[in-house]
């Protein structure tokens, strides 16, 4: 129930295992399972049925025990009746008693044996009776008398009861199995639904969300959190329903059989349970501690291992060790305490079980001796006590493990409930990418990532079809902001961006995206073949068309050298270099074939020759398109029709190369600085 702190737990806050609103998230979880209600109801019925059956079975075992003891006890009254009849009959002659012929000799032997055990039979104090002596005497009695007084076992009744009990056991097992079968469907289906909803949600969220949240966070919601919800559904819900009904069943049966014993059993179990509850709540603290400290050591280890070169070069070992030892010590304490306390639970429950047993036996014995109940009732109660006390601890455990599951479900639903991008209902400019000229106009555009801080203040510019716009600035200057606005990844605060005179506010995001080809520095590749990566969602494109594009960007030769040509898997052994990846993304852009282009010129980790190839391909891509280029090459910048100089998020200067150099501002400074030392 308390899984170790895997990498998934890394970096999460203190409260990751605690739900903020436990009952709220459970309610939500239940309401989200709407489509599975019928299955769940059937599962509950099965579980209830199984529980009821397993409660009835001890009852049958008690009946069997009664039957067996019935064939065990010598009926004193019968012995007295037989001996009286024998004594009143003629001792020297055979006579018939209850249809059995008892010979004269038999009578004599019988009387002798009765004499032998007489003092035992007549003893005042029952404790003085030597039962085995009596039983031994009976064995030595003549056959005829034995048949008269020996107890008889009702084999038919036992056989009947055994068959019934066997059927009940099998039925209860089958029902429990069916419940598991159905719950497997519910869990897998529910987990699948949740995952799909998260996956779909990703594409409905504004990019703003991903600026603030880490990828690892979303990933852990999709796997760890969904898994945790699913497994708790499977285990905890199942346990609570099944064991709960078992407990209720046991209670009902106990009271129905004998209310005094029922009270004894319940009170003794509950006493123990209170202990267990205290232990559980105490150990919870150490489990949380442990999770927190494991997270801490994880971060520390990650830091040291990944920066090992620096740790070594700077002799940072002592510092690293000090921190490590401190956390490691804390884990030691938390480990020991949590393990010890949680380890106490089972022995305590076992003790409670035994305590209940003795309590039931003693009080049962009292009642038996006073003739209130039969021995079978005690046997049944021994099972009831077990049925009552063991679910208690399992339910407590299930509720305990529901805690982190509730926390997980909160995280899942928090993501699903996240505010989506603005609605696009009623939008649509009926724009067709084949008929777009390619003019674009910025009209007093104002934008800020936060409402209170504008970073693009009143930007206006007119770009004619086919022109090139270079965006320059130091790293982190906010060049991607322009990409974000052009692609309508973010909505502008005020002003307008118009394409061919039509406001982008009137267009759907999908329409705008269809007008743009985007090639970023991140050579984003996904698992699949080279062909998949180039064609992407243009599934109807033919291999011939793709090869033509590959030839244009200078990728044709490379693809022919691949073992399976276009069908080669991109994951296979890193055979594709960074430069070739860049060419593939350029080819992908060509397939898209849109009138506008957004291009990041940066070539990272590419050797000089490949760089030339990539630059040639980029030039090809720019041909005939209105292009926005995050520029790194002087030639591009110098040839650009318009340069947007950005720093710290703002567009601080605009103009062409000559104008900006003449101005002697930031751009000129930037341009000149690269040659100074």
């Amino acid at each position: 129930m308390f899984n170790g702190g895997g990498p998934g737990g890394r970096g999460r806050g203190k409260d990751s295992t605690k739900a903020k609103n436990f009952s709220g998230s459970i309610k939500r979880m239940i309401s989200e399972m709407k489509g599975f209600y019928l299955a769940i109801i059937i599962a509950i019925i099965m579980s209830l049925g199984g529980s009821i059956l397993s409660v009835i079975t001890p009852d049958k075992l008690a009946d069997i025990t009664d039957e067996i003891t019935g064939g065990l006890m010598i009926d004193r009254g019968r012995v007295e009746k037989v001996s009286a009849e024998i004594m009143t009959s003629d001792m020297s002659q055979d006579s018939k008693i209850d249809g059995v012929t008892v010979s004269a000799e038999d009578k004599v032997v019988f009387m002798q044996k009765v004499q032998e055990i007489a003092q035992d039979l007549d003893a005042e104090n029952p404790a003085d009776i030597d039962a085995s002596k009596i039983y031994g005497a009976v064995d030595e009695m003549p056959e005829s008398v034995k048949t008269l007084i020996e107890p008889k076992m009702d084999y038919d009744a036992i056989k009947h009861l055994a068959i019934v009990m066997g059927i009940l056991l099998a039925l209860s097992a089958i029902m429990e199995f069916v419940e598991g079968w159905i719950m497997a469907r519910v869990t897998a289906g529910f987990a699948r639904n949740l995952r799909n909803r998260i996956s779909h949600k990703i594409n409905k969220l504004p990019l703003r969300y991903f600026d603030k949240h880490q990828i690892g966070d979303v990933l852990s919601r999709i796997t760890n959190d969904v898994d945790s919800v699913a497994s708790s559904l499977d285990n905890s819900f199942g346990t609570i329903i099944g064991e709960g009904s078992l407990m209720i069943g046991a209670t009902v049966m106990m009271f129905w059989t004998n209310w005094i014993l029922a009270l004894v059993a319940i009170i003794s179990s509950l006493l123990g349970f209170i202990f267990v509850a205290i232990i559980l709540s105490k150990s919870q603290k150490y489990f949380t501690d442990r999770q927190v400290e494991l997270g801490n050591i994880n971060s520390h280890i990650e830091e040291v291992y990944s920066g090992l070169a620096v740790v070594k070069a700077y002799d940072g070992k002592a510092t690293a060790d000090r921190k490590f030892d401190k956390i490691n010590r804390k884990i030691h304490t938390a480990n020991q305490k949590s393990q010890f306390l949680s380890g106490m639970m089972h022995p305590f429950m076992a003790f409670v079980g035994n305590f209940g047993y003795v309590a039931v036996c003693v009080s049962g014995a009292l009642l038996t001796m006073n003739g209130y109940i039969s021995f079978g009732v005690i046997v049944a109660f021994i099972s009831y006590v077990r049925l009552f006390s063991s679910p208690l601890s399992r339910i407590a455990q299930a509720i305990g493990s529901l805690q982190p599951a509730a926390a997980s479900s909160e995280r899942v639903f928090e993501f699903i409930d996240e505010e989506e991008m603005s609605s696009e209902r009623g939008l649509g400019a009926d724009i067709d990418k084949d008929n777009v000229k390619g003019d674009i106009e910025f009209d007093h555009v104002k934008f800020g990532y936060n409402d209170d801080k504008l970073i693009i203040k009143d930007f206006s510019a007119k770009v004619k079809a086919g022109q090139k716009i270079a965006i320059v600035g130091p790293t982190g200057a906010g060049k991607t902001t322009m990409v974000n606005l052009l692609m309508k990844f973010y909505d502008i605060n005020s002003g307008d961006i118009r394409i061919d005179g039509k406001s982008t506010k009137e267009m759907t995001r999908a329409e705008i995206h269809s007008l743009f080809t985007m090639v970023l520095q991140d050579t984003w590749m996904f698992s699949g073949t080279v062909r998949d990566n180039i064609a992407y969602n243009h599934t109807s494109i033919t291999d011939k068309e793709i090869m033509k594009i590959c030839d244009t960007v200078g990728l044709g030769h490379f693809i022919k050298t691949l073992p399976n040509g276009l069908k080669t898997d991109v994951d296979e052994g890193g055979a594709i270099s960074a430069g070739q990846k860049q060419l593939i993304t350029i080819a992908r852009g060509m397939v898209e074939d849109a009138p506008f282009l957004i291009l990041d010129e940066a070539t990272s980790n590419v050797d000089t020759r490949t760089e030339e190839l990539v630059q040639k391909a980029m030039d090809k891509l720019m041909e005939g398109r209105t292009s926005f280029i995050i520029a790194h090459r002087l030639s591009t910048i110098k040839n650009a029709d318009l340069i947007l100089v950005m720093n710290e998020g703002n567009i601080i200067e605009t103009g062409n190369h000559e104008e900006l150099m003449a101005k002697g501002g930031f751009y000129a400074d930037l341009y000149n600085s690269q040659f100074a030392l």
Binding site: G4, G5, G50, I64, I68, T69, G71, P126, G136, D139, M153, S172, E176, F177, G180, A188, R192, R195, N196, S199, H200, I202, N203, V218, T223, L294, N298, I301, E302, V304, Y305, A309, V310, Y314, D315, G316, H332, N335, Q339, F340, G343, M344, P347, A350, F351, F355, C361, P474, T475, V483, H513, L520, W524, F526, N537, N605, D607, F675, A676, L677
Partner: protein, 585 residues
């Protein structure tokens, strides 16, 4: 697995002994209880028994239960200590070991894998020790004890019990055989699902720009459905187990009673009572036997999982250290010199050399730059100086002494190393700059500020909320890449080294900062030697020596001017970055 236990301390072995003792005591007491149970049974059932006797037996049974509870708790205390000690000791061992590993070994394991080995794998093995130790001792003891108790009572009952054990074990083994290979598939599918999601998230702009949302969702859905199908199947197979166990456990009692009825019926009166109480006792011991076998089966399921983890831990602990410490830490005749004599390098497990026959000498106060395309070996070369790797052939000298002869501490005190990707530790700005041990005590506050100024970090630091005491998150996620790089440089400056090593440390800076930083550095450290790996020609144009590398070989050595004349590779790189007139040729 047992190999790891040798790291435990004598105290832990004592604890293990005591734990075994108390577990044995507990098992003994637990198995004593059915005797009292049967005594109570007999008493309750015999007419005229006295309450006193029932109470006495009940009391004894409760005493046993209490004793067993207490010994379990004591044993639990020992076991929990052993487990905690174990993970404490092993974790420390691995951490120490990793700290002393060479960069090459770390590369071979991969950082992520080393992290899991230090955390998850230890948790796995600890679980086997704490849970397993308990069961490993308990199960055989209690099985043996219970078997002795019921031995010779009746072969019919024993056979029935044996059959029950076989049925249960067969169920478990078949289930596991079906399920375990599929667990691996589930893991793989989960990884793939993660992959598809990661893909969608990292490329979110591309996905949207290409209107490819449906395409991604379809891909996700396919894997998701596969995953759901196989988990459902596995869950269903697994759901056989619990009802089966329940049925067998209850069934065995029924069978024993039925056999009992038959035996009683066929025996003479004198034996009937004995058989009856034997039957009650047997049925409870039989459950003990079955439970013990279940426990053993569970351990066998746990062992392979823990064994994998233990092997992974041992693999780290048994890795031989390739970088051996020397013992030279005296003063040297020269200062600030670095010399490579015919140095070649390849990874021990690789075939091809990454560096071939490199020779040069950097004199005190000089700047030596290294340039070349990716994979040309420039980073590897520079990493031979702080002995992150050792040269395969030839030798590297610092201040005229072979780096292999130095005590590593002594060698590294001479060096100020700045890696390609800035390493930032959680803490404060100041703790990052003053990081480590330079042999001269902690740098003063003034020194830290001076270092920050040289590294062009002063401005941004002083804009932070608490300035030098500003909190820095893990990996420096709350500051930008350029800021991280400047802090990393300040860290080197604060150390006042004889020799600076910049492994492509300037690429994250814009041209302007790059230039002013190098100027400030030059002013501040006139006597220090600098080894610089760079990608930008602008960064290295004025170096005293430039070494051009191509596929591990030195294809040019000289100043910028010389190389522009006689080195094709250098010219090619230069021209791809700057125009002819900008290069002044």
């Amino acid at each position: 697995m047992f190999k790891l236990l040798r790291y435990l301390k004598p105290k832990d072995y004592l604890f293990i002994g005591l734990a075994v003792l108390f577990i044995a005591g507990q098992v003994g007491l637990e198995l004593k209880m059915p005797e009292y149970m049967s005594a109570i049974t007999r008493l309750v059932q015999t007419e005229g028994s006295e309450m006193k006797d029932i109470l006495q037996n009940g009391g004894m049974m409760l005493l046993c239960a209490l004793g067993s509870l207490i010994s379990t708790i004591i044993a639990g205390w020992f076991v929990s200590n052993i487990g905690a000690d174990f993970s404490y000791i092993i974790r420390k061992k691995i951490f120490d070991k990793v700290e002393s590993l060479g960069i090459n070994e770390v590369r071979k394991f991969s950082t992520a894998s080393l992290i899991t080995r230090t955390t998850n794998d230890i948790t796995q093995t600890r679980m086997l020790i704490t849970m397993g130790a308990n069961m490993l001792v308990r199960a055989p003891l209690s099985a043996a004890w219970a078997i002795i108790k019921i031995h010779g009572k009746s072969w019919e009952w024993s056979t029935a019990t044996a059959v029950a054990v076989v049925i249960l074990l067969a169920t478990i083994i078949t289930t596991m055989m079906i399920v375990i290979p599929r667990f691996k598939v589930i893991q793989k599918l989960t990884d793939r699902l993660n992959g598809v999601t990661r893909e969608n998230l990292t490329g979110i702009r591309v996905v949207r720009a290409f209107n490819a949302e449906k395409y991604q969702e379809h891909k996700f859905d396919k894997t998701n459905t596969e995953l759901a199908d196989i988990t459902r199947f596995v869950d269903r197979v697994m759901s056989v187990m619990s009802p089966m166990m329940y049925m067998v456990m209850n069934g065995i009692t029924l069978v024993i009673y039925c056999i009992g009825a038959y035996l009683i019926g066929n025996s003479v009166m004198a034996d009937k009572l004995t058989i009856f109480s034997d039957m009650v006792v047997f049925s409870s011991y039989a459950i003990h036997v079955i439970m013990s076998f279940l426990m053993v089966a569970m351990i066998f399921m746990m062992i392979p999982r823990a064994q994998v983890s233990a092997d992974r831990i041992n693999e780290v602990l048994d890795t031989p250290l390739t970088i051996k410490d020397g013992n030279f830490d005296d003063d040297t005749a020269e200062t600030g010199t670095v010399e490579f004599r015919n140095v070649s390098f390849k990874y021990p497990d690789a075939e091809e050399y990454l560096l071939k026959n490199i020779s040069f000498k950097a004199e005190k106060g000089q700047t030596v730059a290294f340039i070349g395309s990716t994979g040309s070996g420039k980073s590897t070369l520079i990493n031979l100086v702080p002995r992150f790797y050792d040269a395969t052939d030839g030798s590297v000298f610092v201040d005229g002494v072979n780096v292999k002869d130095y005590k590593q501490k002594a060698l590294r005190r001479k060096l100020g190393y700045v890696p390609q990707k800035a390493v930032i530790f959680s803490g404060t700005v100041a703790s990052n700059i003053s990081y480590g041990d330079s042999g001269n005590g902690k740098p003063s506050e003034r020194k830290i500020q001076k270092a920050a100024q040289v590294a062009q970090a002063k401005n941004f630091i002083e804009k932070l909320d608490k300035q030098y005491n500003a909190h820095i998150a893990q990996s420096g996620t709350n500051i930008s890449g350029g800021q991280k790089q400047r802090l990393a440089i300040a860290r080197a400056v604060a150390r006042d080294p004889e020799i600076y090593i910049f492994d492509d440390s300037f690429s994250a800076l814009d041209y302007k900062t790059d230039a002013s930083l190098r100027q400030a550095l030059k002013d501040y450290t006139k006597d220090a030697t600098s080894l610089i790996v760079a990608q930008r020609i602008g960064t290295i144009m004025n170096a005293d020596q430039i070494i051009v590398l191509d596929k591990g070989e030195c294809v040019g050595h000289g100043t910028h001017k010389e190389l522009m004349k006689n080195c094709e590779v250098y010219k090619e790189i230069a021209l791809s970055q700057l125009t002819k007139e900008e290069l002044n040729v």
